[in-house]
């Protein structure tokens, strides 16, 4: 059955069976990424979830004024935004489930049991090695953590510049708390500025060009 656009249902990325020629890993004909990520998220086992949460606390360490990154269900967020096994890895953050879970497994229980300094050292090693997993997990933690409603509430409380931030732009918008132009400032706006009329345009002195090709 096709969707409203007449496309075959590809929950995320083009199916592996897509013919291969073309550029960028295949044709563009399937693969509209679903808003909100996967309808059926990638599942992690308990050990993998524990590593993921330990990573979240390493990237954004606990602070008494803020929700812990390990306690805002980034496991579910990551599960929605990585590419399931068997699908082409076409969309941001370009993390495929097989490699992603393998990276979690590799860090394993030792990472969970480590103290914050040891965890940081292990994570720094991934960064230095330019392991693709480093950028994937950092992006997922940043995008995930700051999208959670409980973190939005903490932003309002803790960051003066964010006191009015309410998360999704709509339906509220910010019209109620935006400063208008003040009349004094506006009255001064026309003090500077001019333009050339069409017939005033003449050849400039090109001998003054300072660049060379």
């Amino acid at each position: 059955m096709n969707n409203a656009l007449g496309e075959k249902p590809a929950p995320f990325g083009a199916p592996e069976t897509t013919v291969e020629p073309g550029w960028g890993g295949g044709f563009f004909e399937t693969g509209r990424p679903r808003l909100g990520g996967l309808e059926q998220p990638v599942q992690f086992n308990d050990a993998q979830a524990a590593v993921l949460n330990a990573l979240a606390d390493t990237i954004i360490p606990p602070h008494p004024d803020w929700p812990n990154a390990s306690e805002v269900d980034l496991v579910a967020f990551c599960g929605r935004y990585i590419t399931p096994s068997g699908y082409k890895n076409k969309h941001f953050p370009f993390a495929d489930a097989d490699s992603f879970t393998a990276a979690l497994d590799k860090l394993g229980q030792a990472f969970v049991d480590a103290d914050p300094a040891e965890r940081a050292k292990a994570f720094e090693a991934l960064e230095k090695a330019e392991d693709p997993f480093f950028e994937q997990i950092r992006a997922l933690v940043y995008y995930g953590y700051y999208s959670r409603p409980e973190v939005v509430i903490a932003i309002r409380k803790n960051v003066p510049a964010g006191k009015d931030y309410h998360g999704p732009p709509l339906p509220y918008g910010y019209i109620q708390s935006l400063e208008p132009w003040d009349e004094t400032t506006l009255a001064q706006a026309n003090e500077n500025g001019s333009y050339l009329e069409t017939e005033q345009v003449t050849r400039v002195d090109l001998s003054k060009l300072t660049w060379t090709k």
């Binding site: 360490p61 500025g193 345009v201």
Partner: protein
């Protein structure tokens, strides 16, 4: 029964060019079909109501089709970041809505310096001015009349200005203190409700569109009215070839992307409006007997003189709230202090400073516009607290020279999902562009430091440029030797084939091009309406002097 259908006007592409022409012709009784390869994006497909609105900007709402890879997109190869969307409304479905006009000098850059491929436009600001006004009224534009850096435009309709917030007020103060020009921006954002459209509530994130219709795009401002009047808009219809015979365009063959079936439409007039990359791609891909180098390309100029503007992103942070997440993304104000050529600077052309809003906390953590990513680990919390919403970004964007080798061609090896060759872009910055941009970056930080910026970061001169603006590749000109189009947007080679989009622009100015593309679409549509019989009887394209007047 004929294996093709016949119409009066066939329009290819439902963005500002195609929508604008259709709008002018919609009540004439002409049979009009518009083919659009993408869908009509619906409000629920926008991310604005979702907690995850920020990560979605990188996915289905990514600007670059090579990243986004939606079914309606086609690959664009080369060192390029082409920012476009393929859907009803075209790339305006994710634009900021900055709505400046060209200035008179922008139509006379050939006279002013004539460097590289620069020529004068075949029309003047005065020729286009009434069409700017008409186009603005169709879209719905907010702003303030009276900018001394422009000719009078007292006939333009304006909704009240968008609110500046702390961000707009801060850069206005900086400009004022330095004695620079500044003015509240015109924005394609309505601040009063219209039919089927809500007024802006300062939500921001217009770079992912606006599901309420507050952002003025052809999807809201044109197509509901075009369709109501009987224009046959066909989304999911991808043109494969524009056909020609006997020195005239005859129509197009297109693929219905719902069924995969091919159909032929024959038309008395064909209007190509597929953007500054898509239109030359389509003309080149339509090479056929008698047009071996592509349609409208007997002089080899289709695809050449590609312009994007030269860009740098300039971030400044303050030790007080700026609240850039508030307010419509379209610029609250701009400065054209450095717009005009001043040879004492050592380069021609100039640049605008356009104050932009920010996004949310994830954007702050991920490094805003300049890749200044928040540190992970123990320094993260402090960094976030000091940077989120204390941030002000200014676009430095300047006029780039039209260079012949900056060009759109066909990629010989890569195709879209229907086997149509991909576009290939070659674009290099010119030394004049680089000199201009470096000067611009300095000036922007001079302003933000004057009002207390405590930290700055910039991208340097961006290469490849963020190619929101796709211009010049089928340009209007003065003779069949210097251009692809005459002054009425007719191709020199085929009198009944028009090109009306960013590729039409002869030079780029140092402003966002959509208001000018829209004005040209109104003008071309009006011209076709008034001269339909003449145009359809022309066997060759008239010179600018001989063409019937409006």
């Amino acid at each position: 029964m004929a294996s093709y259908e016949e119409v009066d006007v066939l329009i290819i592409g439902a963005g500002p060019g195609g929508a604008g022409v259709a709008y002018e012709l919609k009540d004439t009784g002409a049979k009009i079909v518009c083919l659009e390869q993408g869908p009509w994006v619906t409000p629920p497909e926008h991310p604005h109501y979702h907690d995850e609105w920020e990560i979605e900007k990188q996915r289905g709402w990514a600007y670059d089709p090579n990243v986004r890879q939606l079914p309606e997109d086609y690959p664009v190869t080369g060192t390029t970041t082409p920012y476009m969307m393929n859907n009803v409304g075209g790339s305006t479905v994710h634009y900021a809505g900055h709505w400046p006009r060209y200035k008179p000098v922008d139509f006379r850059k050939g006279t002013e310096h004539g460097l590289e491929g620069t020529i004068d436009w075949p029309i003047s600001y005065e020729d286009l001015a009434p069409f700017y006004d008409r186009n603005d009224a169709i879209y719905g534009i907010s702003g303030l009349i009276g900018d001394p850096s422009y000719p009078d435009r007292k006939n333009a309709q304006r909704d009240p200005m968008v609110l500046p917030g702390k961000l707009g007020l801060k850069y206005a103060k900086a400009s004022r203190d330095l004695g620079w020009h500044w003015w509240p921006s015109d924005n394609a954002v309505i601040t009063r409700p219209r039919e089927n459209r809500e007024a802006d509530v300062g939500h921001g994130n217009e770079l992912s569109g606006s599901p309420t219709g507050s952002l003025s795009t052809p999807a809201h401002a044109h197509w509901p009215y075009n369709v109501r009047a009987g224009v046959d808009l066909r989304p999911m219809s991808r043109v494969e070839t524009i056909t020609a015979e006997g020195g005239k365009a005859t129509g197009a063959v297109y693929i219905d992307r719902n069924t995969g079936n091919r159909h032929e439409i024959r038309a008395k007039i064909v209007v190509l409006a597929a953007n500054g990359i898509g239109s030359p791609r389509m003309l080149l891909a339509s090479a056929q007997k008698g047009h071996e180098n592509g349609l409208a390309n007997s002089n080899g100029m289709v695809g050449k003189y590609l312009m994007h503007h030269v860009f740098a992103f300039c971030d400044s942070w303050f030790d007080e709230p700026v609240e850039g997440f508030k307010g419509s993304f379209g610029s609250p104000m701009y400065s054209h202090e450095f717009y005009h050529t001043d040879m004492d600077r050592g380069f021609v052309n100039g640049f605008g400073m356009q104050v932009a809003r920010s996004f949310g906390p994830s954007y702050a953590a991920m490094g805003t516009h300049t890749g200044y990513t928040a540190p992970w680990g123990e320094k993260h919390r402090d960094f976030f607290a000091n940077h989120f919403a204390n941030h002000l970004m200014v676009f430095m964007f300047g006029e780039d020279l039209p260079v012949e080798s900056n060009a759109v061609t066909l990629d010989p090896e890569v195709t879209d999902s229907d086997g149509i060759p991909a576009a290939h872009v070659n674009y290099e910055l010119h030394p004049n562009d680089i000199a201009l941009a470096k000067y611009g970056i300095e000036k922007i930080f001079e302003a933000t430091r004057a009002v207390g910026a405590v930290e700055t970061n910039d991208t340097g001169v961006l290469y490849p440029p963020p190619a929101w603006h796709l211009m010049g590749t089928c340009r209007m000109g003065n003779t069949p030797e210097d251009s692809v189009l005459n002054k009425w947007c007719q191709t020199w080679d085929l009198p009944n084939l028009f090109v009306v989009d960013g590729s039409t622009l002869t030079t780029g100015g140092a402003v966002n091009p959509t208001s000018t593309i829209g004005a040209l679409a109104v003008r071309a549509g009006e011209y076709i309406k008034r001269n339909y019989d003449h145009i359809t009887s022309q066997r060759t394209t008239p010179s600018n002097a001989d063409a019937p007047s409006m």
